[in-house]
Subunit: 242 residues, 2 copies
C-alpha cells in the first residue's frame, strides 16, 4: 500500500539543542590547549576533528568519545607537554557536556504532538546510549514517543533494520532531522522521504553528505511549526502518485 505509515524524528538539534554545547566544549578545549601552543598556527579544531574521525571506529559517537579524542589530541599538539591538571579540565568539559540542560527547539513539542495525532512516530537518535536516555527523560517528550531507537550509526543498514522491525517499507517512511548526512540521505537512499530542518550549527563531520541540493523526496522547513504541514504535503504527494 502506498501511504506514509511512520514518521521518524532525530533527537540532537532536531528536538533539543545539542551542537551549541559541543561548540562551547570545543572553545574550552582551545583555551586549555592555547596555554601551550599558538592557536593561530595550529589549526587546533581541524586537528581535533581529524583525531575524532580516526577514533570514531573505536569510540563511536558521543561526548565520551569526544573527550577521549580531546585528551589524545591535546597530548599530540603539545608534544606531551600538557599538564595532568589541564587534562583533568578536559575531562570536566566532558562531564559538563554530558550533563548540559536539555532545551527544546522552539515549537517542537506542539509539532511532534500534531504529527503523532495522525501518524505513528518513532525517535531515532545516535550517540552515547546513557546520555541519550538521560536527554530523552529530561526533554519531557518521552510520552510522545511510544518507540525510541538509540543507534550507534545512522546509515542505510541501520534505518533498514529499524524499518524491518516496524514491518514497513522505506517508501512509507518520513524522517525529520537537522542532518542531511545522518537523517535525510540514508533514508532517501532507501527510497524514503525526508524533512530537513537545518540547525544554525552543524558539526563538520555531519556537514558532509552526498545529496543533491534539491531532491524530489526531501522538503526543507525553517522552523518546527512548519513540520506538520511538510509531513502532510508528503502524504498527499505519495497518495497522488499511487
Amino acid at each position: 500500500m502506498s501511504d506514509i505509515r511512520l514518521v521518524g524524528f532525530d533527537g540532537d538539534d532536531t528536538l533539543w539543542r545539542s551542537e551549541d554545547y559541543y561548540r562551547s566544549a570545543e572553545k574550552r578545549y582551545e583555551e586549555i590547549v592555547g596555554r601551550y601552543i599558538d592557536l593561530h598556527d595550529a589549526g587546533t579544531l581541524r586537528h581535533l576533528l581529524e583525531v575524532e574521525r580516526r577514533n570514531l571506529k573505536v569510540f563511536g559517537y558521543g561526548a565520551k568519545g569526544m573527550v577521549l579524542s580531546m585528551i589524545e589530541a591535546a597530548i599530540e599538539l603539545t608534544d606531551g607537554r600538557i599538564a595532568a591538571r589541564d587534562l583533568h579540565q578536559v575531562i570536566e568539559i566532558g562531564r559538563e557536556t554530558l550533563q548540559h540542560p536539555v532545551e527544546l527547539i522552539d515549537g517542537i513539542r506542539e509539532a511532534v504532538a500534531a504529527i503523532a495525532a495522525d501518524w505513528p512516530v518513532v525517535l531515532i537518535t545516535k550517540g552515547d546510549l546513557f546520555h541519550q536516555e538521560q536527554k530523552i527523560a529530561a526533554s519531557g517528550l518521552a510520552d510522545l514517543f511510544p518507540r525510541i531507537e538509540i543507534v550507534s550509526e545512522k546509515d542505510p543498514p541501520t534505518y533498514a533494520r529499524v524499518l524491518a522491525e516496524f514491518g514497513i517499507d522505506a517508501t512509507q517512511f518520513v524522517m525529520v532531522g537537522n542532518s542531511l548526512r545522518s537523517d535525510i540521505e540514508p533514508v532517501v537512499r532507501l527510497g524514503g522521504w525526508g524533512v530537513h530542518m537545518p540547525y544554525p550549527l552543524t558539526w563538520a563531520h555531519e556537514a558532509e553528505h552526498g545529496l543533491a541540493q534539491a531532491h524530489p523526496r526531501v522538503l526543507t522547513v525553517e522552523q518546527a511549526a512548519q513540520l506538520p504541514g511538510a509531513v502532510r504535503r508528503i502524504v498527499e504527494q505519495v497518495r497522488n502518485s499511487a
Copy 2:
C-alpha cells in the same frame, strides 16, 4: 497462561569473555600509576573503583567510562604529577579493551541454539552501545538472536520495559547470566526466573547484590552445556505449579 515464553541471555561473561580484559586493563593501569606512587600503600584499585562508581551516573557502564575514570583517578592519586605520555597510555588501554578479541564461552553456541529451538530468545546486554554491537557482530551469535536489547542499566524498570515490549509477564521469563546483581536479582524481584552461570571473575561492583543464597526461582549451573537442562527444569516447575 502459566508457561515460560521467553529466555533472555546476558552478553559479557555469559556468551563471551569480558572481565578478563577489564582485569588486564586494571593491571596495566596499576603499572602506569606505580611509576609515581607506592602501590602497596595506595589501594590503587579500590580507589579506582570509588572513582568509577562516583562517575557511573554521568559516564554509564563500559570501557570509555572506565578510561575516563582511570585518567581522573591517576591524576588524583599522583597529585597531578603524572605525565601526559603516561595518560596517553591509559587511553591506549581503553582502545585495546574496546577492540579485544571476542572469545565465546565454551559450549555456549550449542547451548543457545538448543534453547532457541524450543523457546524465543533475546540478548539483553549493557555497556557502550557501539562496543556491544561490535562484540555481537564479532561473536557470530547474532543469527541466534532475532532480538537484541542493549540497555544502559539492568534494573527492574529496564527488564519491565523490555518484557512489556514483548508483551509477556515476568513469571513467563527466564534470564540467563553470570551476574546475580544485573542478570538474576532484578528479574527475580519482578517475579521471573534466573539461571545463574558464574564466571570465574566478577567486577567488584557486580559482586554486590541482595539475593538470598538459595532462591526458589534461581538455578545455578557450572557450564554452558547445563543451560538447556536448567531451562527445561524451570519450564516443568512452572507447568507443574500451574
